[in-house]
Structure formats: C-alpha cells, structure tokens
Assembly symmetry: C2
DNA sequence: AATCACCCGTGTGTATACAGTGATCCTATG
DNA sequence: CATAGGATCACTGTATACACACGGGTGATT
C-alpha cells in the first residue's frame, strides 16, 4: 500500500477516534516524523483530510484538526436525512426486482433482530457498529447511484465524529437496532415509502438523543469552528 | 497564488470545457511540462481532480479524464433534485425572516424576468449563465448549511460537464429563465413548499430536455465509465 | 514606557533526484 | 504460428534539498 494512503487512514482514524483533538496543529515535519514517512506523501494525506473537512489550513499555523461540534449536528442531519431517504427509496426499488438484493436486506433485518436482546442487556456494541456499517454499505450499493453513495460517504465521516460525543445507553442501542431492522425489512420488502419513513424515524430519533445527551463536550477554544470545505469554496466561481 | 491552485483551476477548466476530452491520459510529466510547473504541485492538483470525480487513476496508464455520460444523468439529477429541493426550502425559510435575503432573491427574480425576452430572441446566454450561478450562490449561502452547499458543489461540477453535451435553443433558455424566476420569487416570498415544487419542475424539465436532445454525443471508447469517487471508496471500511 | 522596525526562526510551497513497479514488446520455444 | 517468459522502458511514488513567506521576538528610538 502507498505511504500516503497509510498516512491518510492513520490520521483520519486518529481524528475520528479523538486521539488528535480538534485544534491540534498537524505540522508537516512533525507528522511525517511521527508516521515515519516523508513530507510529500503526508501532504497528500493532509490534502485529502482537508477535502473531507477533517482538517483546515490555519494561516501561519499549518493544518489544524477541525472541530466536531454538536452545534451543527442539526445541519448535518438535515442533509443526512435527505440523502439516506433517497438512498433507501432506491434500494427498496432495487430489492423489489432483484432477489439477491432482497435476500441481502432480509438477512440484515434478521441479524439486527437477533442483536436487539443482547444489546439491551449491555453487550459490547462493537459488532453492532460493524453491522450498521454493513447496512450502510448494502444501501450504498443497492441504491444504484454512485453520486449519491459518494455524498453519503462525506456525511458519514462527520457523523462518525459526532457519535463519539454522546454516550449510548443499552436501551438506546437496542432501540436503534430495532429501527435498523425495520429499515432493512422495508427495503427487503421492496417498500420504498415504508423504508423512507422508517429512515426518517430512525434519524430523527438519533438526532434527538444526540441533543439530549448530557455529555455535550465543549470544543477547545482555539478550534476551527466549521469549515465544511470552505477552503475550496472560493474556487466555486470558476465552475461556470 | 499557489502553483498547485493554478494547475487545478486550469485542468478543471480544460476538462469542463472539453479541451481535455474524456479518456485523455493526464501524465504527470507531460502535464507539468505543459503547465510550466513541477510534478509536485501538479500531483496535488490531480488529487483534487480525483476527489471531484473529474479524473481517475487508471492502472498503469496514470490519471485519465473521466467520462461525462448522459447515461447516468438520471442518477445525477436524482441526487441533485433531493439536494436542491432541500436547499431552496431552507433558503425560503431564511428569506421569510431575513429582509436582506428577501431582497437578494427578489432582485434575482426581477433580473431573471428581464432576461426572458432577450433570451427568447437569441441573445448571448453567457450573462444568463452567470446569473444562474449567482442564484446558486445565493441559495447556497442562504440555506445556512455548509454541508449541503458542499454536496451541491460536488454535484454541480458534473452538471457543468453535462451542459456541454446539449444544445440550448432560445426557446428553452427563455423557459429556464422563467423557471428560475419562479424559484427565486418563491424563495423571496418565504414560501418553502412553492420553492421546492418550482425547483422540481425546473429540474425535471432540464433533465427531460437533456435526454431528448439529439446531440447525444457518444463518449470515446476508452473512457472511464463513471468512477464517482470509487477511487477512495475502498477506504469506506475504515469509517467505523 | 510604548511603539515601530528589523532580524531570526519555523514552516510551507516547490523543484529535483531516486527507486520501485507495472506494462509492453520482443524473443524463444513448444 | 501461438504462447509464455523475460527484459527493457516509462511512469508513478517517495525522499530530500532549497526558496520564500509569515510570525515572533528583541532592540532601539521617540
């Protein structure tokens, strides 16, 4: 594997897991030394992090890890709902015609069902997170729209950071498993409307729980507020 | 300005305008020589093009300009409609409270109105395209959602390529101006539902005209079908 | 004492040199 | 004559060296 890929994955993981806190300066020399590579591939990795919105150039200080604020979680979910609803609609339409897709989502629904009970009893949610990701992947590929899957990917990166900001009680985890099962089953049944509604329910619940969570950690004072990809925004004028 | 920025803008423009046709191999040495810069900043520019979906690495041949096919225009518009509808809804909500936003869209609506007649008589559409872009920008900033604006930016890049594939008759141009005026006015009036509906009308019409256009140029045989950002897709598994 | 100017240091942006890998073409053999 | 194997070549990926720009700090001057 390329050194730049390794650097990208490592840095991304470190940012998402909070090892590199928001506001941390990602000096090229420092980071290239830490990762045991030269500055060239590291710069490429940093560029991809900027495109992802996980880092932003700060004048004179170099790259800085952006803040994952609960403040604009609403904005993020607003977009997420629109995208996921569209995706599950299309996935359901696919599953209605394609037996293989149907089976895939039916299996997922069953697996989610079986996960509910253990989760409510405080089981380790690691496997469950992997399962969730598997559902996302199934939706992405079944929706038959690479552009859509791509946009969702960008959103999910930021969601992964928000997830760390809240504590998940066993009760809530079991609830989300039920919601996921409902979504998967609706898709398997080839019912776009139901799948869309189930998705809205799930995401609204997720947002509500995110907001009511007492664990609202405040970002470090010098953290970049939220750049989105504002760094590339000035180039918009050349789109014409 | 940085050399890598210049290279990015130039290459992007060349791809969008068709100077660099789909399937063209973007050799690092060749392009860096053409643009008068070294390989390092060029590589950064190529990386951004890949992130935009305008280029994709082809095993052994280097970077290749991706194809802008009418084939998946439907996919693109599926996503575009979802995003733009959400954006104009939020923009209308903003305009309902913010007089400055109201005025901005009211002005735009008027300008679009005045553009209808000249366009129907075959006037140069260059100014009109700039006006359209201005509306996009106004929606982006007024929707109050950087994430959404960002996703829209990614979509619009591909749309800019599709636009080149079809001829616009004066009649159709005047029609789009009318549709744009309707959207701007609905936003100015603070009417989210009307803005959303007007947007759906406009985009469905645009897609229909794109498809019925006789000018369906076939992409070069060795063009990359459509990568989306499939290059970065394998990394999705680390999102968890 | 406060402010301005100059110097120094750090860090990014760019260029170039080097190495590794993959593809293509030619040759030899079945 | 076709196919397989190897060698050559060109390209990407990485490393390093250099130039420039921005900040910070310190000193002198008002």
């Amino acid at each position: 594997m390329r050194a730049s890929d390794r650097a990208y994955r490592t840095l991304r993981e470190d940012i998402l897991q909070g090892t590199l806190e928001p506001g941390t300066v990602l000096g090229e020399i420092e980071q290239s030394a830490r990762l045991g590579i030269s500055r060239t591939p590291l710069r490429e990795a940093l560029g991809r992090l900027v495109a992802d919105g996980l880092a932003a150039p700060s004048a004179g200080r170099g790259m800085v890890v952006t803040a994952a604020s609960l403040a604009d979680a609403g904005k993020l979910f607003d977009l997420r709902i629109a995208l996921e609803v569209l995706a599950v609609r299309r996935a359901a339409e696919t599953a209605a015609d394609d037996p293989a897709a149907h089976d895939r989502f039916a299996d997922l629904a069953g697996t989610f069902d079986r996960a509910i009970s253990p989760l409510s009893q405080g089981a380790d949610p690691t496997d469950y997170y992997a399962l969730t990701q598997e559902l996302d992947l199934a939706v992405d590929s079944s929706c038959g729209n690479a552009y859509l899957a791509d946009s969702l990917r960008g959103v999910r990166v930021h969601l992964a950071r928000l997830r760390r900001l809240s504590r998940h009680s066993p009760a809530r985890l079991a609830e989300t498993a039920r919601e996921h099962a409902a979504i998967a089953r609706a898709i398997a049944d080839g019912n776009p409307e139901l799948a869309a509604a189930a998705t809205v329910v799930h995401l609204q619940q997720a947002l509500a729980h995110l907001r009511t969570d007492p664990d609202s950690t405040t970002p470090p004072p010098d953290a970049v507020t939220d750049p989105g990809r504002s760094y590339t925004a000035p180039l918009k004028e050349t789109t014409a």
